[in-house]
């Protein structure tokens, strides 16, 4: 049930990609309609038929997308939503009711994830999006073609950043297969002086943050850094594992706040909010992340021993 529903969600998500491709082709003001359409078309195909295409074929398709992105031919076009006067007028006419569909996405995603575990939060997010679309359609009495128009407009303005989280997951898998983590852990482990607890604590926290920044994911860093640095330089000196363990993990989260590799937390939101600087979210987070990381070193040294 869950996997069938999820597969339907993937097909619908793929259709958003296909629709962006069609709109890019039709857009007379688009600088590179064919290449942009190819990018989103291929993306849509990997979503709709991904389950049935052999892995290496998908791999080749991804390379083609990579080339299109690298030569800078995947662009936002000239699609425009309603102008400001119309939006103001409609905001006055619809009133605060407009928040109902906006809240529906999150509330349904939450309710399904929480109370219907058989379906899960992902199906919930999809269902929330569909229900919210229906409510919005009824409320605004908008034309049906605006569903694909507005979806395509936003996907084109998100740009290639939209596929980055999936690609980074694939990169993580390749790094794992190649054993990158072990090399890093042994590298850091080699420079820590033996018998100095503070040095071990600093190395454990920094190691978590740095390796998380490389992998884009603290969960991926935790086992590697705990085995390579935590065990010989922190736990071996009688640390309280309950305290030190969770602090090491959240020290990694400080790294997550500072890396473009955590694209789903940092790069996609920037694209979603249409920032000028793609690293805007990271820039906003960096001061707090550094302060938190230093705090982690202090907490681990004082509470952990």
């Amino acid at each position: 049930m869950q996997s069938t529903l999820l597969e339907i969600m993937y097909i619908l998500a793929g259709l958003v990609g296909i629709s962006a491709a069609v709109h890019a082709l039709r857009d007379k003001n688009h600088p590179h309609p064919k290449e942009t359409a190819a990018f989103w078309g291929i993306f849509g195909i990997t979503f709709i038929f991904g389950k049935y295409i052999p892995g290496y074929v998908t791999g080749i398709l991804i390379l083609i997308m990579g080339v299109l992105a690298a030569i800078n031919r995947v662009k936002d076009g000239g699609m425009k939503t309603a102008d400001e006067d119309q939006r103001e007028a409609s905001a006055l006419k619809i009133g605060n009711k407009i928040f109902i569909p906006a809240m529906t996405i999150g509330v349904i995603a939450f309710a399904v994830g929480q109370f219907i575990p058989a379906l899960g939060a992902l199906v919930g997010l999809g269902l929330g999006a569909l229900l919210s679309t229906i409510i919005a359609m009824v409320m605004t009495k908008t034309e049906t073609k605006n569903i694909s128009f507005e979806g395509s407009r936003l996907l084109l303005s998100l740009g290639t950043a939209a596929i980055l989280p999936q690609l980074l997951a694939a990169l993580g898998a390749l790094f794992n297969a190649a054993g990158v983590g072990e090399v890093i852990a042994s590298g850091i482990g080699g420079v820590i002086p033996q018998g100095n607890i503070l040095a071990g604590v600093i190395a454990y926290c920094l190691g978590m943050a740095i390796f998380t920044m490389i992998m884009g994911n603290a969960f991926a860093a935790f086992a590697v850094i705990t085995t390579g640095i935590g065990m010989p330089f922190v736990y071996a000196y009688g640390a309280n594992p309950t305290v030190v363990g969770i602090l090491a993990l959240t020290a990694g989260y400080c790294g997550t706040l500072m890396t473009p590799m955590a694209a789903n937390f940092n790069i996609v939101p920037a694209a979603l909010l249409d920032t000028k600087n793609s690293n805007r979210v990271i820039i906003a987070q960096a001061p707090l992340a550094v302060a938190m990381l230093l705090t982690h070193i202090v907490l681990m040294y004082t509470l952990g021993f």
Binding site: G59, M103, I105, Q114, T140, L174, A218
Partner: protein, 228 residues
Amino acid sequence: MIRLIGVLIILIGFYKKYNPIAVVLVAGITTGLVSGIEIVTILDILGKTFVTNRYMSIFLLTLPVIGILERYGLKERSVMLIKSMKSATTGRVIIIYTFFREMASVFGLRLGGHVQFVRPLVYPMAYGAAEKNYQSVSEDADEKIKGISAAAENYGNFYGQNVFPASGGVLLVVGTLAALEIEVIPMEVAIAAIPVAVIAFIYTVVQSVMFDGKLNQTLQKNKIEKGA
């Protein structure tokens, strides 16, 4: 050591601002090749992981409705709503959202998200508060409001989640340490996560108050006279 070449490519690529997709693909394929993995296997890992991680892009389904709501004045309405609240400031919107986001995550509720809440609600309100307090919001200020709005979601989510004993992070710590023959209890690990959750919220408050102060400095001249 040669296996770290992918990491080096990533660092240089992101620093030089090359297209991130190209950088990631080159880094992945090079790492695979220097580690002696066949090119077909590399492509296979790439393709299979990409497809199994499609769930990361389910949010595409929310784009049409967000676009439609924006077309019909969602952002404009948020500005109107926030303008009716007298003491609203950008920093306070950020503090309130972070608080609710963090509490939700402490109780294991997956209530939040950049797509679900930040783009449709938090950012428009944070922006609306600035528009209310200053006659015009500069592009630079708007850009920074976007940054801190997205950041609030991450702060609340990251530092609150491990206070919930059944969270992925707590279970990962318990499981990893168990594999190293160290036994810890989920409930105690969750309690140990409380100091970080509290401190992160305090830092968020400090950052938000400073953010309001900066807006006051840069946009002060435009401040609307009270009662005018």
